[in-house]
Symmetry: C2
Subunit: 210 residues, 2 copies
DNA sequence: GCTCAACCGCGCATAATTGCACAGTTGTAT
DNA sequence: ATACAACTGTGCAATTATGCGCGGTTGAGC
């Protein structure tokens, strides 16, 4: 079982750095000034990139907004899960660690994060292939964690890793979207419910005593 | 009285970033492995730059060594002094702050810093114009501080700011070189002597009571 | 002595970024 | 309505970084 990441050459790395620079600058300015009041000019100045460069990465401001929204919805599952699998022995502990991590992120989110998440679907509208890819990347990461658990004997084997992973990703994404749309959505208690649900469905070891 | 720094465009900034990346990587590798055992290949890998790029910045490894040596000898006087002039009201206080700053740097220096400083003169041999420029940049920065003191009335006016600045730069460079050559050189007590000397020669206010 | 790996230095074509200037749009002030 | 500032989106030439591969050197192993 190996992660299928293609080798990235320096051209690609430099390009990703520049893109990151733009996204980080945009996020900071959106936080400070609001999304509407932030211009592409301002982003380029803060990122210290040419406007010409901005347009080689993104077709318009909306595209950056969407990209930032997606990164909040999909939590960059792969690096997180690789880390959790490394540091936790059982699938149950990994799911625990994952919920802790997600709770930490929610504690840190601001209003602008909500706005960005609400904008994410528009990104998918302009580039529908992207949705499939991001969704399948996230599901793939969870599936690998569950498959490892099945090999260890502490995860349910009646269902495929893919369907279990899809359940996890789908549940989390829905809850996140609900929170973005409705500020009164009780995300932390819902995450605790999700923790119980996921462990009930996925884990076949007996729960550890409190 | 204004600092004469030409505007730097993004091309220049990107270039300087890359150059910095190379120098910082080199410094770290020199610290870890020693100067001799560090190859250009290793520096490029650590800096994540192409070897072709290394050669567009430096003709060979010796050039990086020399550059790092010079930066240790000449302490980037201009930003430091601008900061000191901003944060301290009198010339005496600025000289105090400068000596504190230099002492802090010496406390942090390692063996590799000594080796780099010893190598600095070789850099001047391969590019003699550079010595004049760096030396005059450092002297210029000190001269501006002293000229400001003369206008304020707390620095000696019988001598020009340039000659007083030359004395300061020359003394500090000599002491630094002595320390690089001889590890037993008592640099901290010498710096305290230099503090007294500079304030005796430059300042015309009465020393503040301890 | 020969072979090989590691490294050096460099020519050259390609990739990514940059700066510039143009045409167009929008909002504000007169 | 007109003028202007601020911003957007884009074509294009110049700059910087990159990858590649070549010829050369050096040291180690056989």
């Amino acid at each position: 079982m190996n992660t299928q990441t293609p080798p990235v050459d320096r051209h690609e790395r430099r390009k990703l750095e520049t893109r990151s620079r733009i996204e980080n600058a945009a996020y900071l300015l959106f936080s400070e000034n609001g999304i509407e009041a932030t211009s592409i000019e301002m982003i380029c100045e803060a990122a210290d990139v040419a406007r010409r460069t901005f347009y080689s990465h993104f077709p318009n401001k909306q595209a950056v907004i969407g990209e930032l929204g997606i990164s909040r919805l999909y939590s960059q599952a792969e690096p997180m899960l690789a880390m959790l699998m490394e540091g936790h022995a059982t699938t149950r502990q990994q799911l625990d660690g994952m919920i802790e991590y997600i709770e930490t992120r929610f504690a840190a989110y601001q209003e602008v994060d909500r706005q960005l998440m609400i904008s994410a679907p528009a990104r998918f509208t302009s580039d529908p292939q992207q949705q499939g890819k991001i969704s399948s990347d996230a599901i793939g990461a969870f599936a690998r964690m569950i498959a490892a658990g099945q090999e260890k004997g502490d995860a349910r084997t009646e269902c495929s890793p893919e369907i279990l992973a899809t359940m996890i990703v789908g549940t989390l994404t829905t809850m996140t979207t609900n929170w973005a749309i409705d500020p009164t959505y009780p995300i932390f208690s819902k995450l605790e419910e999700a923790r119980l649900l996921f462990q009930l469905i996925v884990c076949v070891d007996s729960p550890e005593p409190e």
